[in-house]
């Protein structure tokens, strides 16, 4: 057995910290069981059907793998609202379905999401 030495679980949690960092609080649901976790949500612009230029965004959530050890397609994430430091809502709370799972096997998993 090998234990990774470059990061602890606390380090990984710090990367996703919603209080001081870039993280957001969310609720992960699998088979009706809810789990609270933190994640980083990216929503990059993508052009659907290149050429005709349909505007879209591709939400991807980055989570600690230990928080979602059995993650599968169609599990859901309820992500809390994204606010600025004054409490103004920049992005409302949103529910997503997981449509793609990309583990890095080093501690983090990227989840490709579909807005519900």
């Amino acid at each position: 057995m090998s234990q990774i030495k470059y990061e602890t679980e606390s380090d990984m949690a710090a990367f996703l910290d919603p209080t001081y960092g870039h993280g957001l609080a969310a609720t992960y649901t699998r088979n009706g069981v809810n789990t609270s976790l933190n994640l980083i949500l990216n929503e990059e612009y993508v052009e659907l059907d290149e050429g005709s230029g349909v505007e879209a965004v591709q939400p991807i959530a980055y989570c600690r793998s230990v928080d979602i050890p059995s993650v599968k397609h169609n599990d859901t994430l309820a992500v809390s609202a994204y606010k600025d430091v004054n409490g103004n809502i920049l992005k409302a709370a949103t529910n997503y379905k997981i449509v793609n799972v990309q583990k890095d096997f080093k501690g983090f998993t990227a989840l490709v999401l579909e807005e519900q």
């Binding site: 057995m1 090998s2 234990q3 990774i4 030495k5 470059y6 602890t8 679980e9 990984m12 793998s65 230990v66 050890p69 793609n100 799972v101 990309q102 583990k103 890095d104 096997f105 080093k106 501690g107 990227a110």
Partner: protein, 135 residues
């Protein structure tokens, strides 16, 4: 042109403080012929059937396997190790990679056995192995 020492190479894959993890490398072919048709190991390359505990760095990049409709999720495992740890390596040799855990003991990747499907020596001390998860 001496750039690195054996200790330098070991430090790159160090499993006690660095990015390395541990595994066991098996020379599984105990015969002269490779399992590949028409290929033969050289005199210096005849597999011994021996095994050796080694340190390595594993990378498993995600990639989408394109299909007719939707892409399937795939990973391409690659191991980087010291060339001196596997001097007679050949295709279909076996690599057992120990389970990888966090500091709290949670498993990030369970113990996995791979077959070597491609060998990429850099000829300056390190090897990259393209792997296939064994059934």
């Amino acid at each position: 042109m001496a750039l690195e020492s054996a200790a330098d190479f070991s430090s790159y894959v160090d499993s006690s403080v660095g990015f390395g993890i541990t595994g066991t490398f098996f020379e599984v072919q105990s015969v002269l012929w490779d399992s590949r048709p028409g290929l033969i190991d050289t005199w210096y390359d005849i597999d011994s059937g021996a095994s050796q505990n080694i340190s390595l760095i594993m990378d498993e990049d995600y990639f989408a396997i394109e299909g007719n409709s939707i892409a399937a999720e795939g990973y391409q495992p690659r191991a980087t190790l010291k060339a001196s740890d596997a001097p007679y390596i050949s295709h279909q040799d076996k690599l057992l990679v120990n389970a990888v855990t966090t500091d709290q003991g949670n498993v990030i990747k369970p113990e996995t056995t791979y077959l070597v499907v491609e060998v990429q020596p850099d000829n300056v001390g390190m090897l990259t192995l393209v792997l296939e998860e064994a059934a």
